[in-house]
Subunit: 392 residues, 2 copies
Amino acid sequence: MDECRPILNTGLRGFKVASSRISDVDGDIGKIVYRGFLIQDLAAKASFEEVVYLLLYEKLPNKEELKAFEARLSAERHLPAEFIDALKTRPKYALPMDILQAGVAMLAHHDSDVRELSDEAASRMAIKLIAKFPTIMAAWGRIRNNREPVDPSPDLGHAANFLYMLSGEVPDDEVARFFDVCLVLHAEHTFNASTFAAREVASTRAHMYAAVAAGVGSLSGELHGGANVRVMEMLLKIGSVDKVEDYVTAQLDAGKVIFGLGHAVYKVDDPRAHILAPMSQKMGERTGQPQWFEISQELEKKGKAIFKERKGIDIFTNVDFYSASLYYSMGIPLDFFTPIFAIARIAGWVAHVIEEQFAGAAAKPVLYRPESEYVGDYCGPDTCEFVPLEDR
Amino acid sequence: MDECRPILNTGLRGFKVASSRISDVDGDIGKIVYRGFLIQDLAAKASFEEVVYLLLYEKLPNKEELKAFEARLSAERHLPAEFIDALKTRPKYALPMDILQAGVAMLAHHDSDVRELSDEAASRMAIKLIAKFPTIMAAWGRIRNNREPVDPSPDLGHAANFLYMLSGEVPDDEVARFFDVCLVLHAEHTFNASTFAAREVASTRAHMYAAVAAGVGSLSGELHGGANVRVMEMLLKIGSVDKVEDYVTAQLDAGKVIFGLGHAVYKVDDPRAHILAPMSQKMGERTGQPQWFEISQELEKKGKAIFKERKGIDIFTNVDFYSASLYYSMGIPLDFFTPIFAIARIAGWVAHVIEEQFAGAAAKPVLYRPESEYVGDYCGPDTCEFVPLEDR
């Protein structure tokens, strides 16, 4: 393969592929809006269940609507017995995101709604997926450690249920609320790679599960959902606050990045980082391991200063920067960081799939079918002469 | 939702998203080229194994290379016992494409190559996927009918093995070769929706299985891989040659399409249709059911004429038009038509994933991250005022 050949690889950057009513991100000023509402307001005052309702139904629920919606989610949290049987056949060393992708695809097998192409069926599948994501991951977290899955509790909300099913212990209100805020912050972010993958699959009129499984696959990549794991690995490697400056210098000397600093979209700090940081600090205090937050804070300070000094550029914290230490303090295994991202982002994925397949003038989906530029030149401009096997 | 609002929905039509060395399609003259070779030459003279080798390694194999490659595929056809155990937990009414998507994701659980981001690991995963696709589908075809899966035969090639594992009977040479040609014809087709979905997922540095599972999901949509099923359902509904004209007239009167006629890319007959038609005819003669080919032929003739007469436009047969009756004559269940498409197209998907992640100047993938146009106007140009739950 000719390594020097110029290769067109747009990554679709800056290309407006479709319109959407779901969310807006203005990276210049660090503004994120879900269905008209600022993410700061939602994180401070709304539960994940309220945000899911907002994303699905385009309005915040009143008390009765929320209660009914919470009851629907609660009723859908369980997994079929045959699904648990299948999970138990899976090798224990499987990557958790691969378990989730298989899990999403397997849920389709149990649901007759996959045979109905309608807004109503899509909404039902959306709620089932949102409800079951935490149960799948918590069940796997136990099965891979040779423990029995814990059934969801009808007395707990969405965030608390995940922590409960994973550990077997009911979290206190503060931890549950912190985790709830994390879910709110990660629920939606316009046409990111995983959301676009889900929309792309949905555009062929494939069903909700098929589309969401694509989203899970996309999120599993280290350039996307895998980034918060890299941040925590970095914090663990650094180990203490006094080693931060040397680490930053060594990374930049080697031409490497600092995980959690920098983002394609933002030209200021990601607003989500500012909401996550105080929660990370508080959890560090609670667990008696304040160092992970402190290293992060020092890394932000030194990283920004050294980038400015050496390269003359401002660099900003992204959403992965403080979520890493926060999840770690909650006792969540590193390889569950990306699945937690998925447990939140499923809310956005399903809203986008419904929009792609059923919204307004786009009700007849236009299948995404881009062009490519053929740069094969195996036999010059003409096609190659076929030589039969006998004569090769 | 405002139904009248203009919605941007490009479908990426006409947008050159990346360059590729893998294949070229010129819809104006009906030309398809894989790595420089005309599809007519490959269909007439090469086996699917040769074509897979060509797609993966950019050259046709010589005799020794082909023999070694066939041996590698043969060695990889089996499925892990735990994988079969998992398949046996699946509900019998599951859609076969959903089984395949889950199957791809589950294969990742058994493969340590998913932890290695390298060209070599990707190539190994590619071969495993190509080898195992027929085994997965054949195993499911038997399990759902309460029969034990049939192990792959070391004495049969790729195409013959699928038919053998599905039915338990070794196909004769003609049927095996016809099926082999079908696989060659469906192996690759530039940046179609499923291939683009696989590339999109791969662009995040997700592994081969995660990307291919997205391709399977995309292909499952009725606008993409589901089309040949619709053609066969149409042929069965028409039932006999004398009813064709009434059917075409009724469909056009109702503003409906004729499945298998028309394609986004081609302005002449799809060249693959001309290769499939004589095989369909021959298989119809062999099975004593010539009507499915005859109805197809009449439908092509009448469909084209009536379209021309009524709308003044030329319409052309696509690849799904004659593959439907051909698969049906081979005794393949209707809901396995799309999985067969996948058994062929996996060759293209894996080549594209490798190109996306490792080819030339694109070796550092640019994650596909398009823009969207926010058309939410829930509270006018400003964001909405958040009203707490208590006050809603």
